[in-house]
């Protein structure tokens, strides 16, 4: 057989074999992969509602049922893509809101929990970020996320922000949050994301009239 034709046929054949193999494995495991992603998100939301304390071990397979029972999604007609949840079994005005914004390197996305009974942040979790490990990457450490817990957001500062990120260790007023030394870009990005997420939610909610 002509050498050139053999080469082309061989390349086509081996490509077909491997494409078939890879797509076969992909379709076998695709359901499991998307279930894993859903579970990971649901875990974050449940954690923000305080339903997954560290001493409570819940098997991953039990997460979707727990999520369905304990949370109820809220939709705003003006923003159909908006993702927001409230507790399924209590009337507490606790809202978990999805956010996404530009970080220093990559998009930062996650969820923030707002308590409208006393107008404070009750928690913050990140589901995805690409910040520098050891510097901006510290945002995913529990200690950093805890800096937001209990911060009031009802008043607007003179600079237009509800919460300001300040130099690490210098937060004195309730409307200030410690930033990260060596990661000013990340700290500024988080400040912007948190403030705009809160502003947007309060606007949609119009002082609680909608809910």
């Amino acid at each position: 057989m002509n050498e050139k034709i053999r080469t082309v046929l061989f390349t086509l054949a081996i490509t077909a074999v491997f494409v078939f193999m890879v797509s076969g494995i992909n379709s076998l495991l695709a359901d499991k992969i998307s279930a894993n992603r859903t579970i990971a998100r649901q875990k974050v939301i449940l954690k923000l509602f305080g339903l997954l304390p560290a001493d409570r071990q819940v098997d991953d397979t039990a997460i979707p049922a727990l999520f369905a029972a304990e949370t109820s999604p809220i939709s705003f007609p003006s923003q159909p893509q908006y993702e927001c949840y409230r507790p399924g079994r209590s009337s507490a005005k606790l809202f978990v809101i999805a956010f996404k914004g530009q970080g220093f390197w990559d998009n930062i996305s996650g969820f923030i929990a707002l308590n409208l009974d006393n107008n404070t942040i009750s928690g913050l979790e990140f589901t995805q970020h690409g910040e520098t490990p050891g510097l901006g990457g510290r945002i995913s450490e529990p200690e950093f996320k805890a800096r937001f817990a209990g911060k009031p957001f009802s008043t607007v500062r003179s600079d237009g922000l509800r919460l300001k990120m300040v130099a690490e260790g210098s937060a004195k007023n309730p409307d200030e949050v410690d930033g990260i030394t060596g990661a000013t870009g990340t700290s500024n990005a988080i400040e912007k994301i948190v403030n705009s997420t809160i502003n947007n939610f309060l606007k949609l909610n119009e002082g609680g009239n909608n809910l």
Binding site: T7, F10, L29, K32, I33, R37, A40, P133, G134, G182
Partner: protein
């Protein structure tokens, strides 16, 4: 060094020390820099590379007499990419958290020069058994360099080992150790020390 390619267990052993792909050939550097700030990620990366090397070398060696010379590199990349995608899918399905942390680095095994180097340099001209041993050897050789570096970087940079706190909590973290530049320093120092040791041994 004997003439002709090493066979059998020799193909594996020489990769661990004499012809270690990282120390001797300075291959696989980018991933060595990127993942060695956490021992757990390094371990998964090493296992992934050993698997990819083993399977790619086996496949390429089995096909070595039918692959047209002209397209052999394309075929090698195809084989390597298929196995790496396989690893990525399996990690996503069964170890989603580690997969998430490793991010793009699993996919970058495809471009790890060690894999291409072993398939082109050895598997294309040797029997499957030897090729598999050679591949496993190169993978273990790579791990023998990466794991010690990770074991230095993670405790110094984060105060943890395998995610468990080992140094006192008032330990001042060397942020430098976690970011890429320290990977250069750690890797270069490691290679320097090992090579100095090797040459002094050879002189004796």
């Amino acid at each position: 060094m004997s003439t002709g390619p090493a066979k059998g267990m020799n193909a594996l052993k020489r990769m661990l020390w004499d012809e270690n792909p990282v120390i001797g050939q300075i291959l696989g550097i980018c991933s060595a820099l990127a993942v060695t700030n956490l021992v757990k990620n390094t371990l998964v990366m090493c296992l992934g590379l050993i698997f990819t090397l083993m399977m790619s070398c086996l496949t390429v060696s089995l096909l070595r007499n039918v692959i047209p010379r002209r397209v052999r590199m394309i075929v090698q990349v195809l084989v390597i990419a298929a196995y790496v995608i396989f690893i990525k899918i399996v990690l996503d399905a069964y170890l989603p958290e580690i997969s998430n942390e490793l991010g793009p680095y699993v996919g970058l095994i495809i471009t790890n020069c060690i894999v291409m180097g072993r398939t082109e340099g050895y598997a294309m001209g040797n029997k499957p058994v030897d090729a598999v041993l050679d591949g496993i050897g190169a993978g273990i050789g790579y791990s023998l360099v990466l794991l010690p570096i990770a074991m230095i970087r993670e405790p110094l940079g984060l105060g943890t080992f395998f995610g468990i706190q080992v140094l006192p909590s008032d330990w001042t973290r060397w942020n430098m150790m976690v970011i890429a530049p320290s990977g250069f320093f750690a890797l270069a120092t490691f290679i320097w020390v090992v090579r100095a040791f090797k040459t002094s041994g050879a002189k004796r």
